[in-house]
């Protein structure tokens, strides 16, 4: 398959891995954070850790929108959907995320009208096809998905679709990175920057990371070769004593971002003063709400929202794992109380969460290290 296979080419991959080993040498320990959950998933799915020298450590960052969504928001969304006239629409990603009384999928099994949609505009289509019902789209995601929500709301208003609203949980990536860098217990050398988010926001918003925090950051694609090449670029910067924003994912990410998408976001959204992130607490100006000019299509303004706050169990150490202080398996609950079937903490919820990725792909692997070559 073109566009995929060329970035999975074994010889190129092994040459790039050799280059990483050569650059990393053996003296120094490197700690890279991949911010984006898509990268975390790819690193595990392609077994990239096996190709890295032991002195390169990958810390999994906060860029999984499902993982950082507090449980109270899910409860709020589902409570609105208790009304018999409401259809609850969301991405497949949300369907297994547990609220206090179960996930959207479990609510569906008990009779709630829950639909999986593949884009916000599909949810709008659903509303038009069901004029007697109200379709609530439970919106999640970073700047990757926020523009399509914005465009859908613009269209809903232009077409005067009254039976449609968005329960907005869109968050923004930069404040989360700032919170990570402000954390006193964190030691990081560099960042692998998010790919899809940067398609929208471009590379400029990361410049302060290089300038003020003196950390190199390379915006990366999601294929094995993309990620390895990004690590080569980070190592070269570190060894030259530099800290710059570099764009490895040029085939998709323009330096200035996508202006049309940004304009749509500005038209529809404004920053919330603060928003709760699961595992990280309240972060100021880190999330989007729908502007009053679109109040009719904002579930939170249109309906009474209970505003539930649910704290994660004390024993769950999501925050420490999220900041890279603990590895997933070092959490007290990992693999025992907290599993992908019964997630307790946020990071076990989505397959992009570092705990779920570790559990699905890495857990139990240690026993076979170095015994992998197929029998001839």
């Amino acid at each position: 398959m073109k566009f995929v296979d060329e970035f999975r080419e074994p010889q190129l991959i092994s040459r790039t891995a050799d280059e990483i080993r050569r650059l990393a040498g053996s003296g120094r320990h490197y700690r890279f954070m991949e911010i984006c959950g898509g990268h975390t998933h790819a690193i595990y799915r392609f077994g990239l850790k096996d190709l890295l020298p032991v002195n390169i450590e990958l810390i999994h960052g906060p860029g999984c929108p499902v993982c950082v969504l507090p449980m109270g928001r899910i409860d709020d969304g589902l409570s609105l959907a208790q009304r018999p006239d409401v259809i609850f629409a969301a991405f497949g990603d949300m369907m297994r995320v547990p609220g206090t009384a179960g996930s959207p999928l479990e609510h569906k099994a008990r009779g709630m009208d829950v639909r999986i949609v593949y884009s916000p505009s599909d949810a709008l289509k659903l509303a038009k096809a069901n004029p007697g019902r109200h379709v609530m789209f439970f919106a999640i995601g970073f700047e990757t998905t926020a523009p399509s929500t914005a465009l859908t709301l613009m269209r809903a208003r232009a077409e005067g679709v009254q039976n449609f609203s968005v329960f907005c949980n869109h968050v923004t990536i930069i404040p989360a990175i700032r919170a990570i860098l402000d954390s006193p217990d964190l030691r990081l050398d560099a960042f692998i920057g998010p790919g899809h988010v940067s398609t929208v926001i471009g590379c400029r918003p990361y410049e302060w990371i290089a300038r003020d925090a003196r950390k190199p950051i390379v915006i990366s694609g999601f294929e094995p070769l993309d990620l390895l090449q990004s690590m080569v670029m980070l190592l070269r910067q570190l060894q030259a004593g530099e800290a710059r924003v570099e764009n490895q994912y040029k085939r998709v990410v323009p330096w200035e971002g996508n202006r049309a998408a940004l304009r749509a976001m500005v038209e529809v959204f404004q920053l919330r003063p603060y928003f709760e992130w699961r595992g990280m607490g309240f972060i100021s100006q880190s999330a989007l709400r729908i502007r009053d000019t679109y109040a009719l299509w904002d579930s939170e303004q249109r309906f009474q929202v209970p505003g539930v706050r649910v704290t994660d169990p004390q024993a769950a150490q999501c925050g420490e794992v999220l900041k890279g202080v603990l590895k997933p398996h070092q959490c007290r609950l990992f693999g025992r109380e907290c599993t992908p079937e019964h997630p307790i903490g946020a990071l076990m919820v989505s397959s992009e969460g570092s705990c779920a990725a570790f559990h699905n792909y890495e857990h139990r692997k240690a026993a076979t290290a170095n015994r992998l070559s197929p029998i001839a």
Partner: protein, 352 residues
């Protein structure tokens, strides 16, 4: 203490603790297994330590036979390459085949929703008759129930099959040994992705057909070429190849090394999976089977399969190892590796 009548049951350990049944309990992955092992098996099968296979072996008056049953609920009822009637025959024939048995007779139960168009029912009954003729199995008994409109999704079909043993084949996960080879009969994911696309909820189209077919002819070819070397077989339906292989490693207590680049997957399936964030190893198949074969028989087995009609894409996709015990490890062509777990719940597309 309770009275004697409940004695065997009170000894059973019910480990299933979920307050209610969720969709995932029917999806063929981990949750399904927990329900079967935690509730059905202890109450219905008592203390039997037999691994749960696709079909059960019975001995009646000295005659060995295999029995299995399966219910079919699929939406839409018909899709490119097949329909529910065809699935209902092939599915049960295949469950028997991978248990080392040739389907001899089927009993069929239809649960019909009031309001179902007769033309649709007739089409499905014809599809069953044709599939049965192709698979060489007799439909010997049947039953019909009709439920109120809205209480069933058009129609559900249950088929129960009995089969006679294929000579020289003995299927038992506990006979699997390190060094054994893992065979796959052909490309994976065709059925699951075809159904996903046929539901029309995605704006995606692809030239794909369900792979529904009887695998009995290929199983018989395999039995002829490698009969005594066959240790285990399974048709990877719901939950896909990943789930079947994980069940194998759990049942035999050994590890399985999967050569990821050797697994045949059509471009259309790969493309859809890449777009939707799905793993082809978790996607359902209705016309493929997996087999574990002793290394001494592996070459002959694969050669015979590839010469048989419909077996051209058969491959050796892995091998049994001591480690990681109870788990499946996939190797990538460039030296990385990952654990391949069972499917949890239904495969759901990832967007954000």
């Amino acid at each position: 203490m309770k009275d004697d009548a409940s004695a065997p049951h009170s000894a059973a350990r019910i480990r299933f603790r979920e307050p209610q049944i969720e969709m995932a309990h029917g999806a063929g992955g981990k949750a399904s297994r927990k329900l079967v092992e935690g509730l059905f098996a202890p109450l219905l099968f008592g203390a039997s330590a037999e691994p749960l296979g696709d079909a059960a072996q019975l001995c009646l008056n000295g005659a060995r036979m295999a029995i299995t049953t399966d219910s079919f609920v699929v939406k839409p009822l018909s899709f490119p390459g097949g329909s529910i009637g065809e699935l209902a025959v092939n599915g049960t024939v295949n469950d028997l085949a991978v248990a080392g048995a040739r389907a001899e007779a089927l009993a069929v139960t239809y649960v019909l929703e009031a309001g179902l168009a007769t033309t649709i029912l007739e089409a499905e009954v014809r599809a069953m008759a044709n599939a049965a003729r192709r698979a060489g199995v007799r439909i010997a008994a049947g039953d019909t129930k009709v439920v109120e409109h809205g209480k069933a999704d058009c129609m559900y079909i249950t088929t129960t099959g009995v089969g006679s043993p294929i000579a020289g084949v003995n299927i038992d996960a506990r006979s699997v040994r390190p060094g054994d080879r893992v065979l796959l009969s052909g490309p994976i994911g065709d059925h699951g992705i075809t159904i996903l696309l046929a539901r029309g909820e995605l704006d995606l189209e692809a030239e794909l057909r369900s792979d529904t077919r009887s695998v009995l002819p290929l199983v018989e070819v395999l039995a002829g070429a490698a009969g005594p070397g066959i240790r285990w077989m399974r048709d990877p339906t719901r939950g896909g190849v990943a789930t079947s292989l994980n069940e194998l490693t759990r049942d035999c207590g050994l590890g399985l090394l999967l050569y990821e680049d050797k697994i045949p997957v059509r471009d259309a399936v790969r493309g859809a999976c890449e777009l939707l964030g799905l793993d082809p190893l978790h996607i359902a198949n209705e016309g493929q089977f997996l087999a574990v074969v002793a290394p001494s028989h592996a070459d002959r087995a694969i050669t015979a399969l590839r010469q048989a009609p419909g077996g051209e894409d058969a491959r050796i996709i892995g091998e049994i190892r001591e480690q990681p015990a109870g788990a499946v490890l996939a190797t990538t062509p460039y030296g990385g590796s990952r654990i391949v777990d069972m499917l949890v719940g239904d495969p759901l597309p990832r967007i954000c």
